[in-house]
Symmetry: C2
Subunit: 128 residues, 2 copies
DNA sequence: TATAAACCTTGTAGCCACTACAGGGTCAAG
DNA sequence: CTTGACCCTGTAGTGGCTACAAGGTTTATA
């Protein structure tokens, strides 16, 4: 399976796959005689894991640790749990920030009287 | 007022102020005999506007347009309103995404049985 | 007056997670 | 045997800063 096929399989751009290889997140696959990357099922599942974790907003570094942990089957999963919880806390912080932001923007826009720029409440609210 | 004083006044790093100048968002101030930037009240208010808009999540490019519009006092403020609404729509999209994300992470973490990595539900949920 | 500390200057490189080329090589279909 | 769709590497760009390095200026103190 070459990079384009893998890309279609996991719905990821070929450039992104090569990027993951470059930063050491996805192991280098063997090459064909024509120097094409030749991926196996293990690559597919590792890349799927990465993409799923990225979709959930985990950082590359977090994913790196998660993949390492996944290989230590005997260990407790406390570290995995901790990473997930840290990420959840981060998401909650962002949600709170965005919620406050939406309220401010709502009020800003609600004040617009559709007049001239000179009497614009939105610009007024942004000005000092 | 030099760059450090301006930085303290508007609670922004000096590097950021110079960055705004470099990208043409904040006009170049005159210089003192020792080649120090010499800011006036106009700079303070322009930078305050920029920072307030950044805090509300407007992009640099949106702020550039807002500042341009603010100078055309006779024009209708429809364009200002449109930018604010577009940004609000963006914030709402992000809120929806983050809310879905939080739900997924909540459920992921809720499934953790605190056992070994081999039976970790979080890693299972991430795997394909 | 000397000097040290605290500023200022410019330019450049780094952050994150990609994305987009350019300039070449390979491969399958017709 | 040519065409076009892929692949390769390497580099540069994105946004919005942030962090140096290596020098110049100003201010406070000895």
């Amino acid at each position: 399976m070459n990079v384009g096929e893998l890309a279609r399989t996991v719905d990821t751009k070929a450039e992104t796959i090569r990027y993951y290889e470059r930063i050491g997140l996805l192991p280098e696959p063997p090459r064909t005689s024509g120097n094409y990357r030749d991926y196996s099922a293990r690559h597919v599942s590792r890349l799927s894991f990465i993409r799923r974790a990225r979709d959930l907003g985990f950082s590359i570094e977090q994913i790196r640790v998660l993949l390492d942990l996944a290989d230590q089957k005997e260990q407790s999963c406390a570290a995995v749990d901790a990473i997930a919880r840290a990420h959840l806390a981060d998401v909650k912080r962002k949600l709170a920030d965005l919620t406050a932001l939406r309220r401010e923007l709502d009020s800003l826009i609600g004040q617009c009287r559709h007049g001239t720029v000179a009497e614009c409440r939105i610009l007024e609210a942004l000005a000092p």
